[in-house]
Symmetry: C2
Subunit: 372 residues, 2 copies
């Protein structure tokens, strides 16, 4: 076995999920994630944990849902899966299937009904120390437009970081956001519409998403600091391509007034964007401002697990805000959607907090070469 | 997908496990059993059941146990897996890995400690409507010494029977055994030592193992009628090769006196046989007499799931008796082992109940061509 698979397993078990002896751990292994599943099981055995392994197959899910459509059945509350997650201390989800569009022909009504019936399962799962990661597969390489070996290098560069050091660096960013009242993002590039957007973050607490449950962070890789902004004003352009409900969306331009999107356009996929913004009242307000700080991620791969953490990027999400950001007892923006949109800020750009430049052309003020 | 995979799934879900709408079903899918897992999920969706899918990977188990050895840990009672099976109505185990010897390098101490800690899990699992089957894989074809396509034909011939008709035929055999007091098996072949062995079955109830939980039968394929004999006398020769603890054993000869094995020999693997017989007091007594009645199985494949159900065979097992056979409140032969040994009875042989011939040269008395 490739030594990097073992290292990935150790980061997942020790840094991310903080598994200890006696913990009851549920591991979900996707169709082609077998090797990482094996390495994780070995690490869990060594730590003295108990393990139950689920088969996270999108083809099995698709077959179950298609059969359910044909049987015209109602979905029940699934007692077994609820009991499983209620008894679990940690949940490690290892993605990496054989076809990222394996469930493409399941109707949205069926998905919705299934998701609604599984509300209790989802809550029990979120109550565990859960972490989501992926094993590099040919299917994911294809989605990224990369060769398989090239994609493996990419994933391990992103995952096998010095997380302790990155967490320290991100703590400085979190501190700046927590102390600040207003964020302004400006980009002035020749080849793209300008961005000049301001938002309030007063009273909001940022999350240092350092790929560990100890930091309230549940993705591996991670490497972003995010908060929940409001009262957004101005215009923003997002040059990073993305996929919304299987539709390719490019070059999104949003205009904000009084905290809401009042105008929008896209170079491709404008209908999919419109459909997101029309979901509910919260879908026209921001739910997230995120700052990508994982410099192990150096290209876009059409996967939000990686894209939004890339160094030299910032992202804004319309829709639901993360619960940990608003003040105790207050809830953030509410919506059924949460769609991230990403801007490259490596050139001709700056990020200001209360008028002070914190990042210019991708370089943070605590880094060498920062030009205040 | 091969239509036979779908048919296999339907037999498993409907005939074997009797799944109904609202049932909570746990399915375990081995590494190469994906296709049958997909077909089973589709059938379960159509029936309106809930499904939770486990990854039944021998390589994941091996990694967990090797890691546990290195970590020198104690095994706990696994709360998640107990909760899972306690909440389940049915458990469908689909075998079919990539290597039948995937756990060969795990020490017997580790296996034993792991099995002991999982006693509660095992009991919860046995309390469900559980059924064990296999998807034909290249690994199983190799164990059987067969080509892959040839092995697939073999498996589907065994599994896709008219189970209703076979259950009726087996009911006649069960009736004869339930009414009888003594069974005698005689074979007189030129090329093998004679068998002439008698055993009491007075007061014992036979199981019509018709591959369905409705018949207290938990294997697919099945197709045997078995009971729990005692007071065995005589000599028996078993010409069908078998594997005991990874050792090939052939041509076993047993001598019984006063219900116990008092002499034994084997053409190969005699040490493995000796080790079984020395396990405990019950290991020298019979725990089972079984009569194979599945004529879809026409050859030995070194898998007890198939071999013991083959038409024209009988088998005796030393060790533990099945709970359902002794009279209410009485327990059958007790032992930590249960090892089946099989004889071909297609020629020069007869099976008598209370002196009356029930099967001669493989033909039952209710079949055409029976020579009483």
């Amino acid at each position: 076995m490739d030594e990097r698979v073992r290292e990935h397993a150790e980061v997942l078990v020790d840094w991310s999920a903080r598994v200890e002896a006696g913990d009851d751990v549920v591991v979900s292994v996707a169709e082609d994630a077998h090797d990482l599943g094996v390495a994780v099981a070995e690490a869990l055995g060594e730590r003295g944990a108990n393990v139950t392994t689920l088969y996270g197959s999108a083809e099995v899910s698709r077959a179950y849902l298609k059969g359910s459509e044909r049987g015209d059945r109602e979905f029940d509350d699934p007692a077994v899966e609820r009991a499983l997650f209620e008894a679990a201390d940690a949940y490690l989800r290892i993605g990496g299937g054989r076809n990222t569009t394996a469930t493409a022909d399941v109707s949205s009504e069926t998905r919705q009904a299934y998701a609604t019936a599984r509300q209790g399962v989802r809550e029990a799962r979120m109550d565990t120390d859960w972490v989501s990661t992926v094993h590099p597969t040919r299917s994911l390489a294809q989605q990224a437009g990369m060769a398989y070996e090239e994609y493996r290098e990419f994933v391990y560069d992103a995952v096998l970081r010095d997380w302790e050091a990155l967490a320290d660096e991100m703590a400085a960013m979190k501190e700046a956001l927590d102390a600040g009242d207003e964020v302004r993002i400006v980009t002035e590039r020749d080849d793209a519409p300008d961005t000049d957007v301001s938002m309030s973050i007063a009273g909001r607490t940022a999350v240092n998403s350092a790929a560990s449950v100890a930091y309230d962070s549940h993705n591996l890789p991670s490497g972003e600091v995010f908060t929940a902004p409001y009262d957004t004003e101005g215009e923003a352009f997002f040059d990073v391509p993305m996929t919304i409900d299987a539709t390719r969306v490019r070059d999104v331009h949003l205009v904000f007034e009084g905290g809401e999107v009042v105008g929008f356009s896209a170079g491709a996929g404008e209908d999919a964007l419109a459909s997101v913004l029309d979901t509910d009242a919260g879908a026209r307000k921001l739910g997230e401002l995120g700052i990508g700080m994982n410099r192990g991620i150096d290209r876009f791969t059409d996967s939000i697990l990686f894209d939004e953490k890339m160094g030299d990027t910032v992202h804004l999400a319309v829709g639901r805000a993360y619960d940990a950001c608003p003040p105790e007892g207050e809830s953030g923006n509410d919506s059924a959607v949460h769609v991230d949109m990403i801007s490259d800020v490596s050139e001709d750009s700056r990020l200001e907090i209360d008028g002070e430049v914190v990042q210019r052309n991708g370089t943070f003020r605590w880094e060498d070469g920062f030009e205040g």
